[in-house]
Symmetry: C2
Subunit: 128 residues, 2 copies
DNA sequence: ATATTAATGATAACGATAATCAATATCGAT
DNA sequence: ATCGATATTGATTATCGTTATCATTAATAT
């Protein structure tokens, strides 16, 4: 499962993973996929995302993948998702500053953040 | 419906709204609540949020409410949600700069963004 | 007033996820 | 290796938010 998630750049659903695993593990049940995904998410080895299409999407955690942090750009027309890593220089440090400030002000122990931009990709914008 | 959403600071689910409306509109159906919510969301009069509890949550759009823009701080322990408006000075301008940059680079027509921080509130952090 | 069209809501269907539980695998001690 | 205890698995069922259907009712136009 970590392997599957490690090889792709896609954002797979539980069922996607089930299907991807099926050839190699024909007896694996969907229940176990859900269970394991929960487990891995609690261990912060995978991240669960919601992009608004009614199912959870999973990504291997950046530290596991050895990947740089990224945020998401989501087309509300065709549901295409773009990972972007080329942050504005100040983006990361600002997020950290904000995080620190919020932690202090609201006495929150912040573990992660989510930042996504919604809009229309070029094709969807044209088509409209 | 806009009225209900305008009076509260909570993040109501479709059913919450249905229940809130029931005394005044006893014959109103849940279907119509869903339908109208969809409608209002498409008109950008209300915003649909997902805080990870399996149901959509709604807020009156800031421009309708005459409210300042805010982001969310979410306790993953007790699901408490804090609206925060006291941004780091540069937070908003950074988001706008990022938005502009992304729009250009990926030819996206960005309509809105979502930024949330997840963590544990003071009580939940203690209890753990 | 009457015909046409749009809005409503009760009900059923859907789909993702969670709960159940019997079957199977794993482990520890002998 | 053998036996019993414990943990893991997956087929099946249940749950629950949301959506689709469709007959009924309300608006609107002629
Ligand atoms: Mn991604
Ligand atoms: Mn809010
Ligand atoms: Zn698109
Ligand atoms: Zn809490």
């Amino acid at each position: 499962m970590l392997d599957i998630l490690g090889r792709t750049h896609d954002h797979l659903s539980a069922n996607d993973i089930f299907v991807a695993l099926h050839p190699s593990y024909p007896h694996l049940g969907l229940t176990t996929v859900y269970r394991t995904l929960d487990l891995l998410a609690n261990l912060d080895l995978v991240i669960r995302f919601d992009f608004g299409d009614g199912r959870s999407r999973f990504e291997l955690a950046e530290k596991v993948k050895g990947d740089r942090h990224h945020h998401h750009l989501i087309c509300t027309g065709c549901r295409k998702i773009i990972d972007y890593r080329d942050f504005h220089d100040k983006e990361m440090e600002l997020i950290e500053a904000t995080q620190k400030k919020l932690a202090r002000r609201y006495r929150f122990k912040i573990s992660n953040h989510l930042m996504q931009f919604f809009g229309l990709c070029e094709q969807c914008a044209k088509r409209k």
